[in-house]
């Protein structure tokens, strides 16, 4: 049995349809902001809530940072939803955030454990994207993890607001259109630390590097080595150590007879706590070499690490992305808010994650949509202030953030249990800026 299909167009009907189509075509784009509603991953559509994915190391050598990152994320969500004292929402400018969620939708979150391992972090991020249907992924405390998750996010079309990642590669050869880094990098640490090292330790030094054997360690070693060699220092040896080695004694004993007078520890988290404590146990701080006091330098420092290392950290120079002792309005507002919530000041990892969450939310508000290519365009080249470290730029060409870098020293006379790092110098942003082309890489497409 067949049914006859009959096309019955009247002249009036045709005119009505034509007028309707013309009206749609002529509608200003402001009324069409959800026109790509079905075209992107985890589009919340008409839902009243959106979900963000916080992928942090809850286990593994960087888990202390992970815990603090999670605290910061939770606080950021609270502030975005208009709860609490608002923290940096009150100081961040220019800001489109209203404290009513993002684009009127309440912010919720799901968490994952990166385990400080790239494969586990990728699997966890995949779960957050596919099962939890998150709109954005943030967090992490390792460059290996950041590079792996960033690449996944590019494939999946989900924005990645990196947590603690210091390798030059993250916004260099491994940069991605969907990945953004607020944290500084190893090159910037070198630029900031160089003049202070010269001033404190002179131009004739012999340095021995112990380096965590993965992307971050390699690039930090390279950056610091280049900086110190420019100062006139010799590099005696660069030795790679496995991540999570625990006992570094077999790597530290060769330093004693190497002829070096500076040990540079390119380690982070518990690795740094262990290697620094063990270096001190081996008497390196009391040692004299080449007629000078033996010195230890930790190019990347954090207060949490300083806490774990105890007295071993006193007097040691390094750099940090942010410190709770900063006196600017934004930093103070954040410390007050975080301290009231958790009874301790935030770490630099917490600061980065909090800021990244606010920046993503603000970019969505500015774009008027959650559609990732438009959110990315809002973040690219975005200049802001009121979030610590002075005026800050998210450079469009490589998605690297530029702001002042802090050179710090382990505080020898702390005034409180948290006063562990003393800011020696706030290196101006201009001094750490560089041509984005030196690290290569391609951002990739907006639309995936």
């Amino acid at each position: 049995m067949t049914k006859d299909i009959k096309f019955d167009f009247s002249r009036r009907g045709l005119l009505k349809a034509g007028a309707g189509a013309g009206l749609v075509a002529a509608t200003p784009s402001i009324f069409m902001k959800n026109a790509w509603a079905e075209e992107f991953r985890n589009n919340p559509g008409n839902a009243s809530e959106i979900k963000l994915g916080f992928n942090v190391p809850q286990t593994g050598p960087y888990s202390e940072e992970g815990k603090d990152e999670l605290r910061a994320f939770k606080l950021a969500v609270k502030h975005l939803n208009g709860e609490g004292d608002g923290g940096m929402l009150n100081t961040f400018k220019p800001s489109a955030l209203k404290g009513n969620g993002v684009l009127g939708k309440k912010v919720t979150y799901a968490t994952g454990d990166t385990q400080t391992k790239s494969d586990a972090a990728r699997a966890s991020a995949k779960r957050l994207i596919e099962k939890e249907q998150v709109l954005m992924i943030s967090g992490g405390s390792s460059s290996g993890v950041a590079v792996a998750v960033q690449s996944l996010c590019q494939e999946e079309g989900v924005v990645f607001m990196a947590g603690l990642t210091h390798s030059n590669d993250t916004t260099g050869k491994d940069k991605r259109r969907y990945g953004f880094r607020h944290f500084f990098n190893a090159y910037m640490s070198g630029r900031a630390l160089g003049p202070v090292l010269e001033k404190e330790y002179g131009k004739e030094r012999r340095a021995y590097h112990l380096t965590a054997d993965y992307t971050w360690g390699w690039t930090q070693e390279e950056s610091i080595k280049n900086t110190t060699e420019e100062l006139g220092w010799d590099t005696v040896a660069t030795v790679r150590t496995p991540v999570g080695a625990g006992d570094f004694s077999q790597y530290i004993t060769p330093v004693l007879n190497s002829g070096a007078d500076v040990l540079i520890l390119n380690h982070y988290g518990k690795d740094m706590i262990n290697s620094l404590s063990q270096a001190v146990q081996f008497g390196l701080r009391e040692k004299q070499a080449n007629g000078k006091n033996f010195e230890i330098v930790v190019p990347l420092f954090s207060r949490l690490m300083a806490q774990g290392a105890g007295d071993a950290i006193k007097g040691i120079l390094g750099t940090t992305n942010w410190n709770w002792s900063l006196q600017d309005e934004g930093s103070q507002a954040f410390v007050k808010s975080f301290g009231a919530e958790y009874g301790a000041p935030p770490s630099m990892a917490a600061h980065t994650c909090y800021v990244q969450t606010l920046l993503y939310a603000n970019a969505c508000e500015m774009a008027g949509t959650f559609y990732p290519p438009e959110v990315i365009k809002s973040l690219e080249g975005f200049e802001f202030d009121g979030m610590g470290n002075g005026p800050t730029l998210y450079r469009a060409e490589d998605h690297q953030c530029f702001k002042d870098v802090l050179v710090v020293r382990g505080n020898e006379n702390p005034t409180s249990q948290f006063d562990l790092l003393k800011v020696v110098e706030q290196t101006p942003r201009a001094q750490v800026e560089y041509d984005w082309k030196i690290f290569g890489g391609e951002l990739g497409p907006y639309k995936v």
Binding site: T253, Q281, G343
Partner: protein, 338 residues
Amino acid sequence: MDAIFLQILNGLDKGAAYALIALGLTLVFGTLGIVNFAHGALFMMGAFCAVTFNKLLMLSTKVEDKSVTLFKAYKEQPYLEIWFPDAGPILLDYAVPLSILMAIPVMILIGYVMERGLIKHFYKRPHAEQILVTFGLAIVLQEVIKAVFGANPIPQTAPDILAGSANVGAWFGMGENVVYPWWRLVYLLFSGLIIFAVFSFLQFTTYGMVVRAGMRDRETVGLLGINIERRFTIVFAMATVVAGLAGVMYTPILPPDYHMGMDFLVLSFVVVVVGGMGSLGGAVLAGFLLGIVQSFASMTEVKAILPGIDQIIIYLVAVIILLVLPRGLMGRAGVMDD
């Protein structure tokens, strides 16, 4: 020369831990015929005895930290310091060595319960089944510790008096660069004492003689009217205590976490196999030997020629030794030959 001497010290230090764990493993295998994959977990349990003891001593009250002005902050003040202002800090300082007092009865209890409750049912079962059940037990113990103490390492500190390093070079007329941390020297000495005590017990006591006889021929000893099973239970508890004490004293060197037993277990099995299954002397010898080899492989000069060799050297040496001496360094004929 100085560098070589330091690497030997490092190797002995590492080897001491391997030797202590391998000694317990061999003792259990030699007496009970059990391949105990939970032995690494016992090392970890010992380390967590030190953590628990420290936590008990550190039971604190919260007092407001007035030096923080931006928000209300609190700091912990141990009751011990409040109640005993003079003796309290000293007790806290010596928490790790004092925790041995707690570790010995706890480890004996764990060993007894483990042997009577589980291991004895697998005496006559194939080695593959023993491995499966003890490995399963190790995972259970690991997860229990993870659930109670969390996944992160918990640093333990050596007493202040042993926190620095000794000028070992001056003792042997070497350069001033030959320094070594006091606590690591203490660990080495402690390991030597434990090994000596175990060997002396087996060699010079009647009890030990019966155990050795039982290791050779269990049936004949049984026919003489001796309850060899009970003695073996005690030997199992002894092996447990050795692993536990090795763990306790290792905590200032490596902050303990729930996984530390597994990290040592694999290497310790390699040590046992290289030493020769069932040979106590072999286990100790192989422990120190492999520790030293691993330490030398970490030297910059060696790694410059063979990058990454420090990660595989133990297995490489094991393969070579087993190719040349299939029963290991001091293995006896007839042990695990089938």
